[in-house]
């Protein structure tokens, strides 16, 4: 251990010693570090027969952030914003065009295989399992490929099989699994070697409600019990709400927001929707701090700021109207991000609070 931290501080000699994640009191130190990381692609566009135009696309444009050990971070943004490119650089699949990137003190692109033993990756859209082989065969291969000690392997496998309910699926070829089953199988595969960080690219995409809940619960427990750092990209705001204390929003390859989810609502002044069912058809409800956006028979939709609590609003309506039933709907993630990005583009200078947050991102 000591000799390792020594060799690493030599490798990282140009960098501040205190950031060496191999030192012993490493809990609060950054585990993932990005400093001005960029990725520029050359895109060729056909402009005619045998002629093409070269254009530079900055998929990731000078992004800096730190993630501490044990954090659970949501990484969100519109399609094509650079989320997957960032994950690919963090896992060593892609080489950054510029900037400095370290995961557990390792430069991912230069020491890909060495880093691979310390990270787990789940791609929502494609499986890391061997498609034609039974699930258990993939796990056996992982066992040997990652050189997991037998006792460790058995313990981790048993735990995953139990919590992710995989017992009946182990002998089924991966191609015959449903999307939800396959996703659980993939998550187990990514955790057999006790990774310190787990990257999940759209882990709940296409899953039914029960599978989603099961996956989320599992991830929460994993983070709480093992202290595994989790970085996930998602389109599902509920993933973030239920799992992540911190969100990062990326757009056009730039980090636009880094902070708690509640702050994201404030920046974007997004709205939640309160759906109330009244006893009978009534004219639109009149309450301060909310406005009726839709009426359909006895059912009415009220929009109110997402940063405010629904409780006083509900109390007031219940007191003044014949209320039968109600539900609160969260804004969807696209809407929140779109609003936030929109308000940021409109204001030439970011408000002080926001500057502070992006300050955190750049520090």
């Amino acid at each position: 251990m000591d000799s390792h931290s020594h060799s690493h501080s030599q490798v990282d000699g140009s960098f501040d010693e205190s950031h060496d994640s191999f030192s012993n009191n490493s809990f609060n130190e950054s585990f993932i570090e990005l400093d001005g990381v960029e990725k520029v692609f050359d895109v060729r566009k056909k402009t005619g027969f045998m002629r093409s135009e070269r254009r530079e696309v900055r998929a990731v444009d000078s992004i800096s952030f730190r993630v501490a050990r044990g954090e659970m971070v949501g990484y969100i943004g519109p399609n094509g914003a650079g989320k997957s490119t960032t994950i690919k650089m963090l896992t060593g699949i892609l080489t950054p065009s510029g900037g400095r990137l370290r995961v557990a003190g390792i430069d991912p692109s230069r020491e890909r295989t060495r880093l691979a033993r310390r990270i787990g990756v789940v791609f929502g859209q494609r499986t890391t399992l061997w498609w034609d082989l039974p699930l258990i065969d993939s796990y056996k291969l992982m066992h040997r490929m990652y050189r997991i000690p037998d006792a460790r392997y058995r313990e981790n496998l048993d735990r995953c099989v139990e919590l992710l309910e995989l017992a009946d699926l182990l002998d089924v070829p991966v191609r015959q699994l449903s999307l939800g089953q396959r996703m659980r199988g993939d998550i187990a595969a990514a955790l057999l070697h006790d990774p310190e960080v787990l990257y999940l690219d759209e882990p709940t995409i296409g899953l039914d409600v029960i599978s989603k809940a099961r996956v989320r619960e599992f991830l929460r427990d994993l983070n709480a019990e093992r202290g595994t750092t989790v970085l996930l990209t998602t389109h599902d705001l509920q993933d973030i709400e239920q799992l992540c204390s911190r969100v990062m929003v990326i757009d056009h390859g730039r980090l636009m927001y880094d902070g708690p989810l509640t702050g994201l609502h404030e920046v974007g002044d997004s709205e939640r929707t309160l759906v109330v069912d009244l006893e009978r058809e009534l004219p639109p409800v009149e309450v301060p701090s909310a406005r009726v956006v839709r009426v359909e028979g006895p059912r009415q939709w009220l929009a109110f700021p997402a940063s405010e609590s629904a409780a006083p609003l509900v109390a007031r309506i219940a007191a003044e109207y014949p209320l039968v039933d109600l539900s609160v709907r969260e804004p969807d993630i696209e809407a929140v991000i779109a609003k936030m990005l929109h308000s940021m583009r409109d204001t030439p200078k970011p408000p002080p609070e926001q500057a502070e947050r992006s300050g955190r991102a750049a520090s």
């Binding site: 692609f41 890909r112 295989t113 494609r126 034609d132 065969d137 460790r152 006790d194």
Partner: protein, 301 residues
């Protein structure tokens, strides 16, 4: 590597949380990487063999099918010889000698790295990324993917044709050198074809739809080599000798064994070059693979 595993076992016995740093053994050296690649290859291939053997009947059927399909190839040549005595001045056993050597060399390469021609598809659908996050060389993972023992069918067929040729060749004056040259030819030829497969796969990093182009060189090359060089245009023979050295798989050494004149007035000693040519081809293919993978990792999908 060994030190790393020992470290992990030690900490496991200690009972505490398994710390990575104990078997985190730093960047791998060149030979360690080769060793790791072979280990990975064996591991994945063994897994595929086991899974194939779960359906033994199906395995037997596909292997027989593979054997029969390649066998028809030679049958066509035999039928041709029912009408003619010589093809390009060569007798049937002589053609069989060329055919057998080419089939065995190509069959071996097909068995070992035949899956590599799927690389383009892996790049297109993004599944190559899943190989890049595993702690094992990508080349070994791609090569061992879908390892199929049924490809032994082609090798078996080649061996039988070669066996027939060796029995039926009556005017060859066997010397120790000639006898030794036969296994050397098979091994070097297999290595040359392996290099073609790997080089072709490396090309698919750049041109994702080049799988058919690759087939032209692998399957096409193997068929070309089954016939005597005299049947082909001088420029083609020149090309497969100096540019794309398939002629070293069997033509040049086999013509030495058969005591036939070389094409292109080459000196006699070129018959003994196949091992060197094979080593050169493998080195070039390795470099091409590395360049291809590097370009993939800088451009993405």
């Amino acid at each position: 590597m060994g030190v790393g595993v020992a470290g992990a076992v030690k900490t496991g016995a200690r009972g505490g949380r398994w710390t990575r740093d104990d078997w985190d053994d730093g960047p791998l050296g060149r030979w360690e990487r080769v060793f790791d690649g072979v280990r990975t290859y064996r591991m994945i291939a063994a897994m595929w063999i086991r899974s194939t053997m779960a359906y033994r009947a199906s395995f037997v059927m596909t292997t027989l099918g593979n054997f029969a399909a390649t066998g028809l190839d030679f049958l066509a040549i035999v039928l041709m010889f029912s009408q003619i005595d010589r093809l390009g001045g060569y007798s049937l056993p002589e053609i069989a000698f060329l055919y057998g050597l080419s089939a065995i060399a190509f069959g071996t390469a097909d068995l070992v790295v035949g899956s590599m021609d799927r690389l383009g598809r892996r790049v297109r659908d993004g599944t190559l990324d899943t190989l890049l996050v595993r702690p094992a060389p990508v080349l070994a993972q791609v090569a061992a993917d879908r390892f199929a023992l049924r490809r032994l069918g082609r090798i078996t067929q080649g061996l039988m044709v070669l066996g027939y040729a060796l029995l039926a060749l009556d005017d060859v004056h066997w010397t120790v050198l000639k006898v030794l040259l036969v296994p050397v030819m098979v091994l070097s030829g297999g290595a040359i074809f392996c290099a073609v497969f790997v080089g072709g796969a490396a090309f698919q990093f750049v041109a994702r739809d080049a799988s058919e182009v690759q087939n032209a060189f692998t399957y096409g090359g193997a068929t070309l080599l089954q016939y005597p060089p005299g049947l082909f245009a001088q420029d083609l023979v020149r090309g497969v000798t100096f540019v794309f050295p398939l002629a070293f798989v069997n033509w040049l050494p086999a013509l030495y064994v058969l005591g036939r004149p070389y094409p292109l007035d080459l000196p006699e000693w070129v018959a003994f070059l196949p091992p060197l040519v094979a080593a050169g081809c493998c080195a070039l293919a390795g470099l091409a693979w590395r360049a291809g993978l590097r370009s993939y990792r800088s451009t993405g999908s």
